[in-house]
Amino acid sequence: MGGDVLDARGVTVGIVDDHPVVIEGVQTWLAADPRIRVAHVAETVEAVPDGLDVLILDLNLGGRLVLDELARLAARAQRVITFSQFTEREMVLAALEAGACEFVAKNEGRAHLVAAVLCAAGDRPYVTPTAAGVLASYPRPDSVALSERERTALLWWFQSMSKASVARRMGVSAHTVEMYIRRARVKYAQAGRPAPTKADMLARAIEDGLVRADEITGYSSAASAPR
């Protein structure tokens, strides 16, 4: 899903995790997809090179949360997917607000990680069931106004982990469910401090016709941030 048009060299990915076994596991997962090429692996966040399409970042490195480093990477337009075993609501929201493109829980498996990488590379949103549960629950930031159907889609995606089942239950197509979920995620991109990664996601969402510019409060200020 998403990331359909990719250049010939594929998506370059970096992996930062303090457990070598996780790095190797993620490499193996990604190696099975020919569109993805792992270009950087490290146990710390210091030497992340420029030019990576997507960075998969463990939120907890050596017993320390790296939310500030995450925000710094997002500020230099590095797309980051946070990959963590900590799935508390506050943690997920903090990561998304700091500028992470997506939050993938370590127990969510290969399919979600690969889909998240491909979507992030194309500046398109992807919402894992864990993130959907967080986004569907209250309280949410005042700036985020979800429609009833968007919230229902998020809630049922969290409950079932099957978009096909959600579509049948809502009586709409799977594509429409996907739209609801992505629209909800895009609305969250306005929350917290602005970041180029968020602006790119909003710009792409408008380009794709997912949302209209006037639905996004504060869009112009976020979009005017340097790429």
């Binding site: 967080v134 969290f158 079932s160 099957s162 089942s165 049948r168 239950r169």
Partner: protein
């Protein structure tokens, strides 16, 4: 303890009733009887000024004493000082009697002084009143001795007057005290009885809860165990196994209900999941949002869907709880048969979806806090 406070309040109410009575007696006696005697016998007293001063001083002592008594401001020293004042006024009045009339129809002071003492020393130990009354009688005896009037007849009259006057006054003071104490004790007993009744009611409630669980076991579990023991039910039968799984989960939840945990709903759902996991079902339990306090009956209704679906799940199940905006939504999604949820009625009707294409059973129950839109 609250009982002591109640005892004090009731005792104070009775003390006030006694005070009102004795002030009434003193006022009626001094302004009625004394004034009448003094007026009628005015010409025999000498010096007359002494009688007038004595009457006025006694009236003043009584007025000050009564006001302080009603304001609960009659301290030990004030009471004693006023008592001495009353005795001196009494002595002054007796000095002005004509010789040989200390006990006669012109004598007025001793009885009034006695009642004044009762009033002033209401809050003091009884022995202080006894000393006061002894002084009162002593002053009469002194005047009689000064008159040389201590013959047998006079002495026996003195004893009779002392006995009737001081005896009644002492008796009044003693009864007032007893009344106050008894009232306090009765209140204490009543409060202890009320506490006993409250404890008994609490014990009864605990007993009723045990009874409820026992009745449940008796009605739903005992027939199953009996059926298994008598070989009427075959554990190899899938339907029997399913009913057993449901009842096992209900039992676990029943026991979890009375545990004291910060999130009882999650605790009860965890209990249901435990039973399924023991059957080899992989259960995920995920929860987001802050759970509000939910009444037990509603928690039971919320957990019913997961309980039934988990008992029927073949290999995996996902239980989720999302709280927020006054709502709590509990959902279970599993590879389970559909016919199970027929009896899913009750206070919170669940929405049941059987996704035949993927052969999944999805049951969602929503609770809304009373008063929320």
């Amino acid at each position: 303890m609250a009982g002591d406070e109640g005892e004090r309040l009731v005792a104070a109410r009775y003390a006030r009733a006694v005070a009102v009575t004795v002030v009434g007696i003193v006022a009626v006696w001094h302004c009625g009887y004394d004034l009448a005697i003094v007026a009628r016998s005015w010409r025999v007293y000498e010096p007359k000024a002494a009688v007038a001063v004595a009457w006025l001083v006694l009236a003043a002592v009584q007025a000050v004493g009564a006001v302080l008594l009603f304001r609960s401001a009659l301290g030990r020293r004030t009471a004693r000082a006023l008592a001495v004042g009353a005795q001196l006024a009494g002595a002054l009045a007796i000095v002005a009697y004509p010789p040989g009339t200390t006990i006669s129809d012109v004598a007025w002071a001793s009885n009034t002084v006695g009642w004044t003492g009762v009033m002033l020393l209401l809050g003091r130990p009884l022995r202080e009143l006894a000393v006061f009354l002894a002084a009162d009688i002593g002053i009469m005896a002194a005047r009689m001795a000064a008159d040389g009037d201590l013959g047998q007849a006079s002495l026996s009259r003195l004893f009779t007057v002392a006995y009737t006057m001081a005896g009644i006054q002492l008796m009044f003071a003693w009864l007032g005290r007893r009344l106050r104490e008894t009232a306090g004790q009765v209140t204490g007993i009543a409060e202890r009885r009320a506490a006993d009744r409250a404890r008994a009611a609490a014990e009864e409630a605990v007993h009723a809860e045990r009874r409820r669980r026992y009745d449940y076991l008796h009605a739903r579990v005992a027939p199953l165990l009996g059926g298994l023991a008598e070989r009427r039910l075959d554990p190899r039968d899938a339907a029997v196994r399913r009913v057993l799984a449901i009842e096992a989960a209900r039992l676990r939840r029943l026991f979890a209900e009375t545990d004291d945990t910060p999130h009882p709903l999650l605790h009860e759902l965890r209990a249901c999941a435990d039973v399924a996991e023991r059957r080899g079902v992989a259960v995920t339990l995920a929860s987001y949002g802050d759970l509000p306090p939910i009444p037990m009956a509603d928690r039971r209704a919320l957990a019913e869907g997961p309980l039934l679906v988990l008992s029927a799940a073949a290999t995996w199940a996902r239980v989720t709880v999302v709280a927020g905006g006054g709502d709590v939504v509990v959902s279970v999604f599993a590879d389970a048969d559909a016919e199970l949820c027929a009896d899913g009625g009750g206070p919170l009707p669940p929405s049941v979806v059987h996704d035949r294409e993927e052969d999944r059973l999805w049951v969602e129950t929503c609770w809304t806090r009373a008063g929320s839109p």
